[in-house]
């Protein structure tokens, strides 16, 4: 072996390999970005661009006909300072979610627990309970809901037939209209139920056997084993339902005929945003509404990320 080889050729060789490797890397980049191109275009045109544009528009007055006119923080000042409908929309959305999310999750968990014990016909029950989730977001169901809770709708007919009670006109009464939509949301407990069932399968059965041998009753087993083991799934469902709750639009729109009425009692935040943008063409103000919502949802998402080590299972490592 020639130990004292001159340095020259070796360096030259390295450089040669280097440029070869560089060219291969460039080729890989080109191929990679060629495949990524559709998504990249979509991302800039339909996500990033619009997000920045709506931030800009939120500082303007814009009616689509004349160019946007910079008005600084006026939109935000008006929103927090003098817009009663903004606060009403926030209130409606929060009342809706505070009732709907926990009740829906409790019901979903209760049914999931009943189905988890290997009951006969379990998969049939599961499928039937899921049907409302499948159809619930559609206009057809909102139309049905509008009839169910009318003064002479099905609910009152059943109340009359079964108990002889004359019920109120639930939908046209501002004190009860929101609760009919809460009920519509709870009715769709099927998806969280399926996620709970998937979570319950992950709980090791020998834990229950050991606990039973130690004489733990059903309630203790639920409190000490099921609930802690299921905590990540509960949390996941909670975050998912909160985000879904913010987005709710179709039922309120159809049931109230697009107004959010009676007396703004079903004025969901998204419905208000839609009205400002597409009924009054106050695009700047609606953009400001959208950004406030983005920040509120962002806070919830941040909480979920900060606590994610307790509940996220998927391995997000593309290597």
């Amino acid at each position: 072996m020639n130990v004292s080889a001159p340095m020259g050729p070796a360096v030259l060789g390295d450089a040669h390999i280097g440029s070869h490797a560089k060219r291969a890397a460039l080729r890989r980049d080109l191929v990679g970005y060629a495949f990524l191109a559709p998504w990249l275009v979509g991302f800039f045109v339909f996500s990033l661009g619009p997000v920045l544009a709506s931030l800009y528009l939120s500082f303007t007055k814009f009616d689509l006909l004349t160019p946007p006119q910079w008005i600084g923080l006026d939109n935000y000042a008006r929103m927090f300072g003098s817009d009663a409908r903004f606060w009403q929309a926030l209130k409606v959305t929060f009342v809706y979610m505070i009732l709907e999310v926990p009740l829906k999750l409790c019901f979903a968990l209760l049914v999931a627990l009943a189905l988890d014990k290997g009951i006969r016909g379990g998969s049939l029950y599961r499928a039937l309970f899921y049907v409302p989730s499948l159809l619930g977001g559609s206009v057809a169901i909102a139309v049905l809901w509008r009839q169910l809770f009318e003064g002479n709708g099905l609910v009152n007919q059943v109340l009359l037939w079964a108990f002889g009670i004359r019920g109120p006109a639930w939908i046209s009464n501002p004190d009860t209209s929101l609760y009919t939509l809460v009920l519509l949301a709870i009715w769709q407990f099927g998806s969280p139920m399926i996620i709970f069932l998937a979570g319950l399968r992950q709980v090791p059965q020998d834990l229950y056997e050991a606990a039973s041998m130690d004489g733990a009753g059903a309630w203790r087993r639920f409190r000490k084993i099921t609930l802690p083991m299921l905590a990540p799934v509960v949390f996941f469902n909670l975050v998912l339902q909160v985000i879904e709750g913010f987005k709710a639009f179709t039922p309120a729109f159809v049931v109230s005929g697009g107004t959010g009425g009676p007396v703004d009692s079903t004025l969901f935040y998204t419905l208000y945003l839609y009205q400002e943008a597409f009924a009054y063409f106050r695009m700047g103000y609606a953009s400001a509404l959208a950004w406030v919502l983005l920040i509120v949802i962002g806070i919830f998402t941040a909480i979920s990320f900060l606590t994610s080590k307790y509940w996220v299972y998927y391995e997000d490592d593309p290597r």
């Binding site: 890397a25 990679g32 495949f35 990524l36 559709p38 998504w39 979509g42 991302f43 339909f46 996500s47 619009p50 997000v51 544009a53 709506s54 528009l57 689509l64 009943a114 009951i119 006969r120 599961r126 309970f129 899921y130 049907v131 989730s133 499948l134 159809l135 977001g137 559609s138 206009v139 057809a140 139309v143 049905l144 009839q147 709708g153 099905l154 037939w161 998806s191 969280p192 399926i194 996620i195 996941f236 985000i243 879904e244 913010f246 987005k247 639009f249 159809v254 005929g257 998204t270 839609y274 943008a277 597409f278 695009m283 953009s287 959208a290 950004w291 983005l294 949802i297 962002g298 593309p318």
Partner: protein, 276 residues
């Protein structure tokens, strides 16, 4: 004792199922009943199957429901094709190709999952208006061909990663280029995830209300949900029988999808609780 408990559970479950499904069954039954008895007849089985609500409801609006069903079907089919193609190409890049910046873009892609549609709605509307795309199906379809539904990309990346790498390494040795690996190896192996994507794309598009509401004003372009909404606002309280007939038809495709693809749908929901 245990038997009694099981019986009690069954009784509770059957009761709950009935209460939940009763409004749906009643709606379907009412669509066959004459208008005059709908409000007093609580039964879920009509005495006779009278199709007159269907016939008159079908033509109740200016355009017939033939038009609305064709519009809805066309949009849904295009969205299915767009999502299956664009999301799988993107997912292939993330799951299998090596290039600089991949991790960053992957995280950005996951970030768009969290983005609520409200913030993009208005600028997108302005953009499509400038392009002259209002009152066309393009705003509802074109974004899907540019992989705008990040959820399906994520779903497919997870699926692709589970396919053994030896397969594409062998193909590279045989001289296959990445495009052929994607088209000839990955796609044929990905039929389950493509089916899930297709099913959920169809269901979500079929039910979508806000998108068509914003972009379609011309009644001849209405989708089924828009038509139902126009129907309820126009006929309102006077034509519940016809409304129920059309509502029943509107949810029928979804229901049939569920009957045929129940396992895929339930697995899809269990995968990460997707729902709109």
């Amino acid at each position: 004792m245990i038997r009694a408990k099981t019986l009690l559970t069954h009784a509770a479950l059957i009761g709950a199922t009935f209460v939940m499904l009763y409004p749906l069954l009643w709606m379907a039954a009412s669509s066959f009943k004459p208008e005059s008895i709908i409000f007093t007849d609580l039964s879920i089985w009509p005495k006779r199957f009278d199709l007159s609500n269907y016939l008159s409801g079908w033509h109740a609006l200016q355009e017939s429901f033939t038009v609305f069903f064709l519009n809805s079907t066309l949009i849904a089919v295009l969205v299915v094709i767009g999502n299956c193609l664009a999301c799988s190409i993107t997912a292939f890049a993330f799951a299998r190709l090596q290039f600089r910046g991949r991790r960053v873009w992957f995280i950005v892609m996951l970030g768009t999952l969290m983005l609520p549609y409200h913030v993009t709605l208005i600028p997108q509307y302005v953009l499509f208006q400038q392009l002259g795309w209002i009152d066309t199906f393009l705003p509802l379809v074109v974004p899907k061909f540019l992989a705008a539904d990040a959820f399906f990309i994520f779903l497919m990346v997870q699926f692709f990663r589970a396919i053994p790498r030896e397969l594409d390494e062998a193909a590279v040795l045989d001289g296959c280029n990445p495009w052929r690996i994607y088209w000839k190896i990955m796609l044929p192996l990905s039929l389950p995830v493509l089916a899930t994507t297709a099913i959920f794309s169809f269901l979500w598009t079929w039910n979508d209300f806000l998108g068509p509401l914003v972009y379609l004003n011309d009644a001849s372009l209405y989708t089924v949900p828009l038509a139902l909404r126009a129907f309820v606002d126009a006929a309102g309280q006077s034509a519940w029988g016809q409304l129920f007939a059309m509502s029943t038809l509107a949810v029928l495709p979804i229901f049939l999808f569920f009957l045929f693809f129940q396992r895929l749908i339930i697995e899809g929901v269990a995968f990460s609780g997707m729902k709109r």
